[in-house]
């Protein structure tokens, strides 16, 4: 029972890291970026390549995956995304889904279509038991890393100068600009961080979710569910939404495997009926 809870939370944590970048771009910058999963896939492939070809240790590949996602995010934001900010959501959706298909085909061409496999260092393999709860070492590791990330994100968002400027820019970009806040630079940086987090999530997730060229499509639904249920104006919303979905998904598949894969959708529908603005969102006037 508690093992299921633990697995669910670890799974949810990965979902959170993968999706929080999306919630940032969607909520804060009002930009629908369906190509978010492509950045996650990029991070995953960076980790795989570094480990397989360069023999880099697993821990080192994680910051590399983050940086890779962030840098590519930064470049693409500058070249492709910025002209789309003013466009309608439909345009943005069409544009980003196009990027997804290009990323899928590109990954297929460059890396081959097979599932990528990494070998974890031995201290992350296996499991141990505390008070009858079986705990996988890797899942515990994921839990710690993601928990730390969530905490620092929330802190950075609410307590730092960067965070307050960002919130100001989102509330009203024109006024913020008038006050001398470099809105474009802030958005670029935010986008890069979001993409970087996706890259990190992709790398962390290889062991739990696998990695192949269809990754951005396969997980797009999960990201979107997390963001819609969690609401887009906070970090805590998607965080708890991801936890809830992770646990519900794992528990559902454990207790009622016949319909297990369907449970998260039911949950999403119920939550959206109850709280259409997201879990913690204040109702918009």
């Amino acid at each position: 029972m508690l093992t299921i809870l633990f697995d669910g939370i670890a799974y949810g944590m990965v979902l959170f890291v993968l999706a929080c970048g999306l919630s940032v771009t969607m909520g804060l910058m009002n930009f629908v970026n369906l190509a978010h999963g492509a950045f996650a896939m990029l991070g995953g492939y960076i980790a795989v390549l570094l480990m397989q070809k360069a023999g880099a240790p697993f821990l080192l590949t994680l910051p590399a995956a983050f940086m890779g996602g962030a840098i590519v995010g930064l470049v693409l934001e500058r070249l492709l995304y910025r002209p789309m900010y003013g466009k309608t959501h439909l345009d943005q959706v069409m544009f980003t889904i196009g990027i997804v298909f290009m990323a899928v085909a590109g990954a297929d061409y460059l890396m081959g279509s097979s599932q990528q496999i990494i070998r974890l260092p031995s201290w992350l393999q296996g499991r141990f038991e505390i008070a009858g709860i079986g705990i996988g070492r890797y899942r515990l590791f994921v839990l710690c890393v993601c928990g730390l990330l969530a905490f620092s994100l929330q802190w950075g968002f609410t307590k730092t100068r960067f965070g307050s400027r960002l919130r100001a820019s989102v509330d009203d970009a024109r006024v913020a600009r008038g006050l001398g806040i470099p809105v474009n630079r802030l958005f670029a940086l935010t986008f890069a961080i979001g993409s970087g987090l996706a890259g990190l999530g992709g790398a962390l997730g290889i062991e739990l979710m696998g990695l192949d060229p269809s990754f951005p499509l396969k997980f797009m639904i999960y990201f979107l569910v997390v963001v819609t249920v969690g609401g887009t104006s906070t970090i805590t919303g998607p965080f708890f939404a991801a936890m809830l979905l992770g646990v519900a998904d794992v528990a559902g598949k454990y207790y009622v495997p016949e319909i297990g894969a369907f449970i998260i959708y039911v949950l999403m529908v119920v939550l959206l009926i109850a709280r259409p603005e997201g879990l913690f969102a204040r109702a918009r006037s």
């Binding site: 297929d108 097979s114 739990l208 396969k218 999960y222």
Partner: protein, 392 residues
């Protein structure tokens, strides 16, 4: 003027000769339309079969019964609609004498109607759902069927003191085939079975494996498509099921030779039943593996490759028997009852069902000279597909 006319004449003569020549050539070739998933998630299947077909022709020449075999390779991206369209084009435009390949069950079924209507033999080299050969009287299979590989596992388990088995299969045709054939046989032998089916697009096996862990069966029977086998094996070990004494058993897809090295040591000790292992101990197989590796950058042939290799041999032998007659009915008649020594062991094309009859081997994953192999330790000779056998 005269000279010019002379030149013109001889040019005309040459063209005529060339046209006649190519017409004569066309009659001397037998085209094989090879439809495989060369891109997409099942591309490794296509690559293995394509390589095996090329190897067979390189080793044996390409002329059989006076006909030169010409392979036309098409990529169906494992999409059944595409398979059907390609099969039609190959039959109508290219006038192929054989359709071959077919990486997955729905793909093989998609071409079945084309084969029936055009009376063109369809050689299924990979797809493994039992009922495929019933879809058309022109289908001949050289791979295996999942019940064929799964039922012997039930016998082995019963004999080796395994009483309670938990089955985890992917929720689609072959998975259900594997589960039902194993479960029926195992229950008939006095064992008890619990089952769970995993969605095809499943990111995480954790909850399913936790169920297995809590149920504490003697063994875990697993079928997943070979691509995601690695992930399954890792999570099986991560969850400590190996240490809890739950044996991993199943048909050999999960420990596919092509992926075994990537899966790593976690595969050690798993017991599987299958029709082919690269470690099969025979002179024919050693030569096959060595030649395959040499031609493909050290790639190890897997059970897909052997299906393609033997499929090509069936085509070649059939052409020899009919003396180059490419009439569909004559070819099918020639293939029925055909038997020969394959690198996997003796095989026979069942004259009644056109399905393959072959040895099924019980294997254990072990390390040989630093490489992981599925080492065969017991043989169940000449197993027929049990599903079709039971229908009679």
């Amino acid at each position: 003027m005269n000279v010019r006319r002379q030149v013109l004449k001889s040019a005309l003569g040459l063209t005529l000769a060339a046209t006649l020549g190519s017409a004569a050539l066309a009659q001397d070739t037998a085209k094989v339309g090879l439809i495989l998933p060369m891109t997409g998630p099942f591309a490794s299947t296509g690559k293995q079969i394509d390589a095996a077909v090329k190897l067979f022709l390189a080793q044996n020449g390409n002329t059989f019964g006076g006909k030169k075999i010409e392979i036309i390779l098409k990529d169906d991206t494992s999409n059944a609609d595409v398979t059907r369209r390609l099969a039609q084009e190959l039959v109508v435009n290219d006038k192929v004498a054989f359709l071959a390949g077919f990486g997955l069950t729905p793909l093989a079924l998609a071409a079945a109607q084309v084969a029936t209507q055009a009376k063109v033999p369809e050689i299924v080299m990979a797809a493994a759902t039992a009922t495929i050969t019933e879809a058309s009287p022109y289908i001949v299979r050289t791979s295996f069927t999942l019940p064929q590989a799964s039922e012997p596992m039930a016998d082995w388990a019963l004999k080796n003191n395994i009483k309670r088995v938990f089955t985890v299969v992917t929720d689609y045709g072959p998975g259900i085939d594997a589960e039902t054939s194993f479960a029926n046989k195992f229950k008939a032998g006095g064992g008890t079975v619990e089952s769970v089916r995993v969605p095809l697009r499943n990111p995480d096996f954790a909850p399913f494996l936790q169920r297995v862990a809590d149920s504490k069966p003697d063994a875990l029977f697993v079928f997943v498509p070979s691509g995601i086998g690695a992930q399954f094996m890792k999570q099986y070990v991560e969850r400590g099921l190996d240490k809890a004494g739950i044996k991993l058993i199943g048909p050999g897809d999960v420990v596919d030779d092509d992926l075994l090295e990537a899966i790593g040591d976690v595969a050690l000790g798993s017991i599987t039943t299958h029709h082919y292992s690269a470690a099969h101990d025979s002179a024919a197989n050693k030569a096959f593996v060595a030649a395959f590796k040499a031609a493909n950058n050290g790639l190890r042939p897997n059970f897909m490759a052997i299906g393609g290799y033997d499929g090509m041999r069936v085509i070649a032998e059939a052409l020899k028997k009919t003396n180059g007659n490419t009439d569909g009915d004559a070819l099918i008649a020639a293939m029925k009852g055909m038997s020969f020594e394959s690198p996997r062991g003796p095989i026979l094309i069942d004259p009644e069902t056109r399905d393959i009859v072959q040895n099924i081997y019980v294997r254990k994953t072990e390390k040989l000279n630093g490489e992981l192999f599925n080492v065969e330790f017991a043989t169940i000779p000449m197993v027929k597909d049990p599903v079709k056998a039971a229908k009679k």
